[in-house]
């Protein structure tokens, strides 16, 4: 620890810091323009000038580069310091007269007007070099640097020409204190790629995320992008987050890993995915940025989203008329025949949000309003009272007009006539469907699937969370469309079923299983493919089929199929069945005595 005197105040500080760092830590204000906490101090703008008294001599020094030595006396607002800052602010204001940051700074030191002739009123760059340092030292893209010297000095790419080396990361625009650098869309491909994705490369997935910690988006993170782009040659780009994280919690080497666990039960809660509305071209999804899906609307309206929760059109304007079309892909013979169950209610909620946030006119095109849950009907009424126009009838078509407006056509079944509405934004309440890879999951766990593609429960009424595989349960929309309360209830049931099984500690299995007679098995493997419970495997060493009795349900499929008749079902052997049949048809002795004919 060292001790400094700053403005007459004794201050303890750790060794190895600069004067500026010590001042900032102790909330002593020092203006800076070329300083950035994650960049190497540069000492170019000289705004942070302070008076340093050492060994009896006093001098003006840049606080950002001067080390904080033990025993230094520092004055941050003595007359020479204020004079220097006033002169510097005046010089900068004369260079960039219309940059608000500089104007404010100059005003703070009493400079209202540029004291010297202004050469270029549009000049914004103060040559602080933050962009140069971030591009070279952090991003390691080496795209921008200084060119020329003295008053001719400028910042730019080599020979001021467009360069492919720019990765469009935007780091330079972020650090630029005066807003002198703009990213034009052409170079901002990375932002285009994820229009509704995270706004920064480090983000908390959602406010409700568990655990609620930030994650790194490796697609936009400068470090990972540079690693990918250069095949690992630049492996240490940026790292700004690591520098500022005082907890040291950032580890770039963390990787996705596959964990193998031995478990007693499995709950399949693989959820759903959104149906792709481009499959029904009449809705023109993708033809206008203002035709969005319900999920995209959620992102737009989220306070942590790209617009900070503002509901706006692609060009930033507020919408004046919004149409919400229900059952896009649901209850439709051309898509899914089932009802997705959640769309009615979220559409009503979105209508309410649009009304509340923008005051726009809202049209809901619906077939039937399925407000079946607790309090749902009341909410439906409330939304109606808020002035949302309900049009009963499927929204049939959306056209993109030349002026960018959207024309929604549909039938008002109540009035019995066709209607159109010209709106600014269309929200498609798209269906939810079983994930693409549901079949893989099904075969992994031996699950059945219903015609709608979701996993089949053991019994639709009596065993809604169990499956035909013992110990495997279903939860939530993996089983079929559900809203949040239903999902929670379903998942709770699955969890308790699983726990009931686990708490027993052992499972009771039926003694009725099939066994293979090794001597008869001809190793044709017919049975293996047929077993619905994946209970049969092949023993390579013995060259015979083997039935895991813990998995076998004794269904008998393999017994019937085995061409060598090598498999028998315990308690259901042929002899036993024939004996039973025979027994069934045998005339009891007491009847024989009475002379009943056989």
């Amino acid at each position: 620890m060292i001790t400094l005197t700053i403005d007459g105040q004794q201050i303890q500080a750790e060794e190895g810091q600069t004067i500026l760092e010590v001042c900032r830590k102790n909330s002593i204000e020092i203006p800076t323009l070329c300083y950035h906490p994650v960049l190497e101090p540069y000492g170019a703008c000289r705004m942070c000038t302070v008076e340093v008294i050492r060994k009896g001599g006093s001098s003006l020094q840049a606080a950002c580069t001067h080390p904080a030595w033990d025993g230094l006396e520092i004055k941050t607002n003595s007359p020479p310091v204020t004079e220097a800052r006033r002169v510097i602010a005046g010089l900068l204001l004369s260079r960039t007269p219309n940059v608000p940051v500089i104007q404010e700074l100059a005003l703070k030191y009493g400079v209202k007007e540029p004291p010297y002739p202004v050469k270029n009123p549009d000049e914004k760059c103060i040559l602080c070099g933050q962009c140069v340092r971030v591009c070279n030292d952090m991003v390691k893209a080496h795209v921008i640097n200084f060119a020329n010297s003295g008053v001719e000095r400028v910042v730019g790419p080599p020979f001021m020409e467009k360069t492919r080396e720019c990765i469009g990361c935007g780091a330079c625009t972020i650090v630029c204190p005066t807003g002198a650098i703009e990213i034009v869309l052409e170079q901002a491909a990375i932002y285009d790629a994820k229009p509704l994705g995270p706004t920064a490369s480090i983000y908390v997935p959602s406010l409700q995320a568990v655990p609620r910690v930030p994650v790194i988006d490796t697609d936009t993170c400068i470090r990972f992008r540079q690693q990918d782009r250069t095949n690992g040659e630049i492996a240490d780009a940026c790292g700004a987050c690591q520098m500022v994280c005082e907890a040291g919690a950032i580890d770039f080497n963390q990787k996705d890993e596959i964990v193998e666990l031995d478990v007693g039960t499995v709950i399949v809660a693989t959820g759903f995915e959104m149906w792709d509305p481009t499959k029904l071209s009449q809705y023109s999804y993708g033809k206008s940025p203002n035709i969005i899906t319900g999920l995209e609307f959620e992102r737009l309206s989220n306070a942590a989203g790209i617009t900070g929760g503002q509901i706006v059109l692609a060009d930033g304007r507020k919408p004046e008329r919004v149409a919400i079309i229900h059952c896009v892909g649901s209850r439709d013979h051309n898509a899914h025949e089932y009802c997705s169950r959640i769309c009615c209610m979220y559409s009503l909620k979105q209508a309410h949000l649009v009304k509340d946030k923008t005051g726009a006119e809202v049209y809901e095109f619906y077939m039937d309003m399925r407000a079946f849950g607790k309090g749902y009907e009341e909410f439906y009424e409330r939304v109606q009272e808020e002035g949302v126009t309900m049009v009963r009838g499927r929204g049939a078509e959306v056209d993109v007009l030349e002026n960018g407006k959207l024309r929604v056509k549909g039938e008002d079944a109540n009035l019995g006539r066709l209607v159109t509405a010209d709106v600014d934004m269309v929200v498609l309440s798209t269906a939810i469907q079983a994930p693409q890879d549901a079949s893989k999951v099904a075969s992994l766990f031996g699950l059945g699937r219903t015609p709608d593609g979701f996993f089949a429960e053991a019994h639709p009424k009596l065993r809604p969370v169990e499956t035909n595989t013992d110990g495997v349960f279903l939860a939530g929309t993996a089983q079929g469309p559900k809203d949040v309360p239903d999902t929670v209830a379903h998942a709770g049931a699955a969890a308790s079923m699983a726990l009931a099984l686990l708490s027993k500690g052992e499972v009771t299995i039926s003694p009725t299983t099939a066994i293979v007679d090794d001597k008869l098995c001809s190793a044709c493997k017919t049975c293996i493919a047929l077993c619905p419970y994946t209970a049969i495997s092949f023993l390579e060493d013995k060259n015979v089929a083997y039935i895991n009795e813990a998995l076998c349900k004794g269904c008998g499929t393999c017994v019937a199929a085995c061409p060598a008749q090598a498999i028998t079902a315990r308690h259901f052997t042929e002899e036993q069945i024939i004996a039973q049949i025979e027994g069934l048809f045998r005339v009891p002795d007491f009847l024989k005595a009475e002379g009943v004919p056989a």
Binding site: C45, S59, A62, E83, V87, L91, N148, S149, G150, R153
Partner: protein, 604 residues
């Protein structure tokens, strides 16, 4: 046995021009069959810029100046064959106007003391044998018998201070470099002089490259470094060539590389070239340049002796400092400390330019007064013009008035007076020099040469230049002087590097010593020196004009008319304000006046 010659012709000033004189000499000597007796040597700079090319004939010590190829036959015939001196080619002393035959009799030479430039012009810089013959590498062999600490102690005793300009004590620098932690340390020689009119580093690198290399090797041994760099401008093509050759020869002789002189010590030197620039000579800028980065300075709160080149301990000195080192090791620190003043020991190389008879390089003991430098060594001002001011220390040095003629020139006194030692660039000004204009000129130079990194230097110097330009054009306001002073003060105290800090010197010093001249420009719209054209008129004083016609001949525009023996008249509408008439008139009949007043009179 090496070839023996009866005479050596040491030809200087022929490096950057076509080698006509040398070729003519060689041809002539060969034709006469003297080539086995007489040798022509292309030697380094002797500092006689005003009268080059010069030839020193040894062992007779005959010195010829302004030698052209056409003079060669006569020179060879008379001197080498008949043994007579060609008087018209000898040096004419500007003070006595007499011809001086022998080099050692030239007054300006006798008043000099050559330490840094001791071999320049005396040996062939391309030959290591000649360097060794005049005592080269004696110091290094002596150094190897000493402990590194003892060498540093010797340098400290000598009081040697960095000859690059800042004057940091060399011994202390070496000591902290030696004590700095780290296995790898660097020795750097700075040959990147960016001052206009300054060429002493160049003269040294071209004329005596091995002295630099020897000094660096001693320094490396003292601080414990094994790698060295010489940084110099690419534009110095000859210096690059001589240094390359010198390094090559030193390696061949085992004076660089592994096990130097059998001592077991290893050291090698590489050349690094950059574009010549003013700020590029700053030590951290050089290190950046060697690292392959733009040559811009950085803050030096942590000394480069701890964290320099590639963040490793580095000992950087000017090439002149390195050249002096071996002489100190050889002759002892006390000997060097005996020269000069108490705090500024030894000698300093100055390059004399401007209104002075003997322009060129001179080396004099520290503490020599301005008067001695200008009048004794420099031979005074041409045409006996009045001394008005002297600027010392390159473009960012201060301009000092005639009242300080008897001031001794050492680091402290110069700094106190508002100037600096700098690299030793000296510009002498007479009464035909306007100090406002000269300060403006230097600001123009500094504006061009600023690297542009820090706000105060980049923007501040340019704004000072704008104000100064306004003043020289007669558009100044008295308030400008305060603005200038504040601006200069802030640029001086806040700028990042030494060059930025001193960029305000021309303004601060001229404001300090010549404020009335500024006020004349602003209030009276009058430039006493007749330099600032926008506010100057030349006028002929009728009473003094004898009608000799000299001014009529001098005028390039034909603006002066008048009969012989009748007072002449200047046509103000034609006059360019070039001042040619003013300079031509021997009787002081032409005076400068305020242009505004003159025009008023004309109208009246």
């Amino acid at each position: 046995m090496a070839q023996q010659y009866r005479a050596d012709l040491l030809v200087s000033c022929v490096h950057d021009r076509p080698p006509e004189v040398v070729t003519a000499l060689e041809n002539e000597i060969k034709q006469r069959g003297l080539d086995q007796e007489i040798r022509v040597v292309t030697a380094g700079c002797r500092g006689f810029c005003a009268v080059g090319p010069v030839i020193l004939m040894q062992p007779d010590d005959i010195f010829y100046v302004n030698v052209q190829a056409a003079d060669v036959p006569e020179l060879v015939e008379e001197t080498l064959v008949k043994g007579r001196v060609v008087e018209r080619l000898t040096y004419k002393d500007p003070a006595t106007r007499k011809f001086i035959h022998h080099y050692s009799d030239i007054p300006s030479q006798r008043k000099q003391m050559r330490v840094a430039l001791r071999h320049c012009g005396l040996i062939n810089p391309e030959s290591i044998d000649e360097y060794i013959a005049v005592g080269g590498y004696e110091a290094l062999s002596k150094a190897f018998t000493m402990k590194p600490e003892a060498i540093i102690e010797e340098i400290k005793t000598s009081g040697l201070r960095g000859r690059g300009g800042a004057g940091f004590p060399t011994g202390r620098k070496w000591e902290s470099a030696r004590k700095a932690e780290g296995d790898v340390k660097y020795i750097i020689a700075n040959g990147d002089e960016g001052d206009p009119n300054c060429f002493m580093d160049r003269a040294l690198m071209e004329g005596d490259p091995l002295a630099i290399l020897e000094g660096m090797t001693i320094g490396a041994y003292a601080v414990g470094a094994h790698e060295g760099y010489v940084y110099l401008p690419y534009e110095y093509t000859l210096a690059v060539k001589t240094l390359k050759n010198a390094i090559q020869q030193a390696r061949e002789y085992g004076l660089l590389g592994k096990n130097i002189l059998g001592s077991g010590f290893e050291f090698d030197i590489q050349l690094r070239m950059g574009a010549r620039s003013f700020v590029g000579g700053e030590s951290t800028a050089i290190m950046h340049a060697i690292e392959g980065k733009p040559s811009e300075p950085r803050a030096k709160h942590v000394h480069t002796t701890d964290k320099g080149l590639w963040d490793r301990p580095s000992c950087l000195n000017n090439v002149k400092t390195w050249s002096i080192v071996s002489e100190i090791v050889l002759r002892g620190g006390k000997w060097f400390a005996g020269i000069g003043t108490k705090t500024s020991t030894g000698t300093q190389v100055f390059s004399l330019a401007g209104k002075i008879n003997t322009t060129g390089l001179v080396e004099v003991p520290m503490g020599t007064t301005v008067r001695q430098l200008v009048f004794d060594v420099g031979g005074g001002l041409p045409k006996k013009r009045k001394f008005k001011a002297i600027q010392i220390g390159g473009p960012s040095g201060g301009v000092l008035p005639d009242s300080l003629l008897d001031m001794p020139m050492d680091y402290e006194t110069l700094a106190e007076a508002g100037s600096m030692m700098g690299t030793g660039g000296v510009v002498i000004m007479d009464d035909r020099t306007c100090v406002v204009d000269i300060a403006r000129y230097f600001l123009e130079f500094l504006t061009d040469e600023s690297c542009g990194k820090c706000t105060t230097c980049r923007e501040g110097v340019r704004r000072m230049l704008e104000i100064m330009t306004r003043i020289t054009q007669g558009q100044g306001k008295l308030a400008d002087l305060d603005t200038l002073e504040t601006l200069a003060r802030v640029v001086h105290s806040v700028s990042l590097c030494g060059l930025g800090k001193t960029a305000a010197n021309p303004v601060l010093s001229t404001l300090r010593y010549f404020r009335p001249e500024y006020e004349k420009h602003i209030v009276d719209q009058y430039c006493p020196a007749g330099v600032c054209k926008k506010i100057t008129s030349f006028q002929i004083v009728v009473d003094k004009c004898p009608g000799c016609g000299l001014c009529i001949k001098a005028c390039p525009e034909g603006a002066i008319t008048g009969e012989k023996k009748q007072p002449h008249v200047i046509d103000q509408t034609k006059c360019l304000r070039c001042g040619a008439c003013f300079d031509a008139c021997n009787l002081g009949a032409i005076i400068t006046t305020s242009r505004a007043e003159m025009e008023k009179e004309v109208v009246a």
